[in-house]
Subunit: 186 residues, 2 copies
DNA sequence: AAGTTCATACAGAAAAAACTGTACAGAGTT
DNA sequence: AACTCTGTACAGTTTTTTCTGTATGAACTT
């Protein structure tokens, strides 16, 4: 990556960097779908093309950003399992490289992020259902009120059914069944 | 929803609102996974429990927010196909209601958002591959340089293969094949 | 144990995004 | 045609997020 290896012809180096930069730009932008910042997306792109695991300092130099930013950026990417910490003897610094198995990245992302959401939503819905049922049984509940409660309950039940389905989708992904439906290449 | 229908017992009304509010809170928060603001998530929740399609003014009143915000919020939800515009004769105002078929919402979201990302990424990758191949054929390309280009090319090829897979996943979703793998309830 | 080197917590600065009020264009009504 | 009502574009303000510099504690070296 660095210029001071005399194997590099400066002009060619620039050409390679230009190509990489464009790819990084696009991939980074679309990574906002994963809920990461544009700059974190760029960091990912940098690591993607790096020929070896990088340290925080190296990243900071390349990105022209503070080491602190690299630290937090790497941490979010670690949480998303998009980069891995790598051990290398002789180095005291932490080294990081991207997870090149994007199939894995994709399914992991779903497993962690969506599962969390599904669970918290299900819990909220179930709690609400209990409350509604309790309310519906109160003696002073008018006809009108009962109707409203019934409609709410119906909506919530439908939502819950959807979440149960989504939960099974996530299961299927974790177990790799998605690859039965849509096989990976070679 | 409004209090001035005398069928409502105020205390019970409060109780219902409290339940709804908690559900809206949770669902709204998790909607950030779809890349929408917390407040847009709340707007969705409001529409979810509304017993009839709502106008922008009604939403603004309920959310205690400006009509402009409602307008933009509804627009993003429309883009995500999470709400639908509804026509009602006699009313000059636009009316909106949520799409209650969340299975549909889920697959539509993928179809639109992820397809867009896949396409733009694939285009960028293909363009980069061409560039690299062109560079590799230049006569003054050193051994070292050729190696670097080769490694970049390999990474890009791998990424492209992943995107082709993802593209097929999206196809499968659009065609409802996901429901073969994980059937919806009832 | 003293001295380095490293990652990260934290507070403040900079940048981005969300939100609002005003203004205006288009559709509908009189 | 004049008038009214509705949705949204736009500019400015407020709020939130991102980014940085400094400080600190932990791990390693001497």
């Amino acid at each position: 990556m660095s210029l001071d290896q005399n194997e590099w012809n400066e002009q060619q180096y620039e050409a390679v960097q230009r190509i990489r930069k464009r790819v990084i730009e696009v991939v980074g932008r679309n990574m906002e779908l994963y809920g990461v910042t544009l700059s974190t997306g760029h960091l990912y792109g940098l690591l993607f093309f790096a020929d070896k695991p990088m340290t925080l300092d190296e990243m900071g130099r390349e990105m022209q950003m503070s080491k602190t930013s690299m630290s937090t950026g790497v941490r979010t990417l670690l949480d998303l399992k998009m980069v891995n910490k790598v051990w290398e003897k002789g180095s005291r610094k932490d080294l990081y490289e991207v997870e090149y198995d994007w199939y894995q990245t994709f399914t992991d992302y779903f497993a962690t992020q969506w599962r969390r959401a599904v669970e918290s939503n299900m819990q909220a819905l179930r709690r609400a259902m209990k409350e509604i049922e309790r309310l519906a049984q109160q003696p002073d509940t008018s006809e009108f009120m009962a109707g409203v409660l019934q409609k709410d309950l119906e909506k919530i039940r439908q939502a819950e059914s959807y979440y149960r389905w989504l939960d099974r989708v996530i299961d299927a992904m974790e177990e790799g069944q998605l690859f039965d439906l849509v096989p990976r290449e070679s």
